[in-house]
């Protein structure tokens, strides 16, 4: 695929963000029906097509800006966005290997991995990085392996440890998280970190998904989609900085909802890690303002129907309470049935 990376974007005020027509055409629209409820929407991560599902881990035109936003968040709030429990080092090396091999295989024009036994050389032409290190030796890298590679990888990444028939959060690089704290969630089990999600527990979604996850095997990844909304194209919406981005929710009107409200879709290609037997839970986030999405008439119609029929508990949990009505009012004009 052709990679035309944008040069001058910003995910913080003053925002500079938009999707090219190519990026918009490949946007992973998450609604297969006119209404939405949680389900066990896991499927084998079989690579298909030319878009976001064509590769193990997707890269797009926002890569440089996203890595820059990550670096900024890590510098501004050390210890808040990247955490790792001591026993996760084997998993860290596993995920470094997984991402490096995938990127080098799928995007050879910009990533390169050369191996001589345990001596590896990694080249990242997009960020101007070339480093040689010894696989398995933390002292040979400028920082921990998981931090090293996730600073160069688009999307958030969480490492889950398998123990006692469930999965525990053991490490995370999460500069794009939607209103949670990775320090707080560290060490939580599968049901615990999904605790706040409304309704899904009663539907048995998490129990079934966990069973599915526990039988994940190397080389047979699975994927699912999740979604929420954000006001302004701000990626860093952690619980810690809620006072910074919370007020944005008061700025949405029916007139400006197209530009201000962004759909935020998470593609999660889950992989079993070979040596640690851990699981990597990537959260690859795609943003698009509603105004871009409604240029596709069927998406516009569907967005109106999904949002107007959304269960109140989901509206509240996804943080839309204050601007939900304005958003639905804006979307109504794109739904022939109600115009």
């Amino acid at each position: 695929m052709q990679l035309h990376i944008k040069n001058d974007e910003s995910f913080r005020a003053p925002y500079r963000f938009s999707n090219s027509p190519e990026a918009l055409a490949r946007f992973p629209f998450p609604f297969p029906e006119d209404s939405y409820m949680y389900s066990v929407n896991l499927e084998p991560h079989v690579r298909t097509g030319q878009g976001v599902l064509a590769n193990a881990f997707d890269i797009d035109e926002h890569y440089i800006a996203e890595c820059g936003d990550r670096a900024r968040a890590l510098a501004e709030q050390p210890g808040v966005h990247y955490v790792s429990l001591p026993h996760m080092m084997q998993a860290q090396w596993d995920v470094l290997e997984l991402i490096m091999e995938a990127y080098a295989r799928d995007f050879p024009q910009v990533f390169e991995l050369r191996k001589q036994g345990a001596r590896w050389t990694w080249v990242n032409r997009l960020l101007g990085i070339e480093d040689s290190f010894t696989f398995g030796d933390p002292a040979s890298l400028p920082m921990e392996p998981f931090e090293y590679i996730s600073r160069q990888a688009q999307g958030d990444w969480v490492l889950l440890e398998e123990r006692d028939q469930t999965l525990y959060i053991g490490a995370g690089m999460t500069t794009e998280r939607a209103d949670y704290s990775i320090r707080f969630d560290l060490g939580m089990s599968w049901n615990e970190f999904h605790g706040p999600v409304p309704l899904a527990h009663e539907l048995g979604v998490f129990d079934k998904a966990l069973k599915f996850m526990l039988r994940l095997r190397s080389n047979h990844p699975v994927r699912r989609l999740n979604w929420t909304t954000t006001v302004f194209p701000r990626l860093e919406t952690s619980a810690e900085t809620l006072p910074d981005w919370g007020p944005n929710r008061t700025m949405v009107t029916p007139e400006n909802a197209g530009e201000t409200v962004h759909l935020r879709v998470e593609l999660q290609p889950l992989h079993r890690l070979p040596r640690s037997n851990a699981i990597v839970f990537p959260i690859r986030t795609y943003l698009a303002p509603l105004s871009e999405l409604v240029t596709n008439p069927s998406w516009g119609r569907r967005l109106h129907r999904v949002m107007s029929s959304l269960h109140q508990d989901l509206i509240d949990y996804k943080g839309m309470t204050r601007y939900h009505a304005a958003m639905v009012q804006y979307l109504a004009q794109f739904d022939g049935a109600t115009a």
């Binding site: 939580m188 706040p196 809620l242």
Partner: protein, 199 residues
């Protein structure tokens, strides 16, 4: 038994003797003493038992005398939860497989004791935890990384940064605390209604 709708909060147990244990370590604090006494009365004859009890208590309950009577020569008292936790660490470090641990007390105490227990890879089939006493919460402020103890209100002022925090019904086992986030983050001064934390 304390079961709430909060899915990340532990489901607490009712203490009862494990049938296959070689050694029963009964550890608690404050109002947990009543559950400990009840448990000791249910132990099978000849059971090997050791008791550790902290008199630090929000509700002021003190069961030390009764526990010493129930486990003569095998009951040690501590003036603070921290002192007990240290001693528990020392005891577990020389314990053998076949040991079972019973914890009784406030949620904060149980969280503290579980931090010690986790270092010895104790699993659910080796530890029972009975919640006793008041429902006060330990709350962690996500903004300033400070813990506030004994919180009883849904909205309160952070002891670290002074922000008005809303207590979310989400519990971290590693921290042994609930999360507090700024309650008026969207519109300054617009806070949720005050209410008691009733669970």
């Amino acid at each position: 038994m304390l079961i709430t709708g909060i899915k990340s909060r532990p489901v607490y147990d009712r203490l009862a003797p494990f049938p296959d244990a070689l050694l029963h370590l009964v550890v608690g604090q404050g109002s947990g003493g009543s559950a400990m006494s009840r448990l000791l009365a249910e132990m099978p004859p000849g059971a090997e038992v050791e008791v550790m009890y902290s008199t630090e208590s929000f509700t002021g309950q003190n069961h030390l005398a009764g526990l010493k009577a129930a486990a003569p020569g095998a009951c040690e008292g501590f003036g603070s939860n921290a002192a007990l936790a240290e001693a528990l660490h020392v005891r577990l470090a020389r314990a053998f497989m076949g040991t079972r641990l019973y914890l009784a007390g406030s949620e904060s105490f149980i969280g503290l004791a579980m931090k010690v227990a986790r270092q010895f890879d104790l699993n659910a089939d080796e530890v029972l935890r009975e919640h006793c006493g008041s429902l006060v919460r330990r709350v962690w402020c996500v903004h300033c990384d400070t813990y506030s103890e004994n919180i009883t209100q849904r909205v309160f002022s952070c002891s670290g940064c002074g922000k008005p925090l809303v207590v979310r019904d989400h519990y971290s086992r590693l921290m042994g605390a609930f999360m507090g986030v700024q309650g008026d983050a969207e519109v300054p001064g617009e806070l949720p209604e005050a209410s008691d934390l009733d669970s």
